[in-house]
Symmetry: C2
Subunit: 199 residues, 2 copies
Amino acid sequence: MEKRDQEKHRERQQRLKAKVDAKVAAASEERGVLLVLTGNGKGKSTAGFGTVLRAVGHGKRCAVAQFIKGQWECGERNILTELGVPFYVMDTGFTWDTQDRAADTAAAEAVWAQIRRALADPAVDLVLLDELTYMLSYHYLDVEAVCDAIAARPPHQHVVITGRACHRRLLEMADTVSEITPVKHAFEAGIKAQAGLDW
Amino acid sequence: MEKRDQEKHRERQQRLKAKVDAKVAAASEERGVLLVLTGNGKGKSTAGFGTVLRAVGHGKRCAVAQFIKGQWECGERNILTELGVPFYVMDTGFTWDTQDRAADTAAAEAVWAQIRRALADPAVDLVLLDELTYMLSYHYLDVEAVCDAIAARPPHQHVVITGRACHRRLLEMADTVSEITPVKHAFEAGIKAQAGLDW
């Protein structure tokens, strides 16, 4: 490589570093973050479970509520429960398999009753509310009750919410919101969902 | 709840179920998928590591290359290496800490030489190329060599690529592409990066 290229690269990287350093210096607050992973693309739940894995890897205590996919087999649950992370899962299948609104509401409320205890527990560092958004879209859970419990959580506790079409109230409360957009999806090209990649 | 609401909900869910069932029936091909997680939002690497966790939870064999963040502490690496997943990591820090293009190129090539063996190994079910995109943006790795190795991999092997500004060639090759957009980020509001959430 030419010496000039090397010099230009170094200058560019130094400017980038200066910018990043300034931002890092300005970001001094340390507290629990509400992270929302929404949008129609693949990666919301995997990022949610990836965050739990990351936290467990630092010795943090986590709790997981799995709305919607409770009865499905789930690779990440196999490992994380072995690592001591409690899972609270819906005891119905996908809502369109039951098609019974009253039973779904009761199942959602049962999971909520369990996970809200974690949301009030200062010993819990991170709570994942996987697929929570649908519980609010379908009015299975009350948005006010959910927002109140999240707002009243211990100050250091992180909360991660995943699911499409997240309620406006939660987006407003959130510290970080990522919108995951499907540019393309293998499923649309005729590739079936596969163990280890899709669940 | 009124009986009519219940009936309407059931009908809506039945239509949704019919649509999903038809799509599931149409998606019959089973093969290795190239998944790209790109964009500027939070969640790309966590979704990548979440996918590895999911695969390991199904007893799949995985391999991970970590470009860029090699020397940083990393919660997910702590757990996944214990679970037997090999990690190949860059032995330099963030590129703007070294600001040495020749050394960075050599470090990237060393990781690539290791992970390309996994990309050619039929015993490996899933390969994560974390932060690969920057290696191509910076011309540390040759895009043709990377595309060729991915195209020639065993047919059942999944590959996950994470990082901003993914190269057009990889986007074209990919089966699934998710663009993760930052709607907002705690960091911009002065909250510092925290162990267990951000690394």
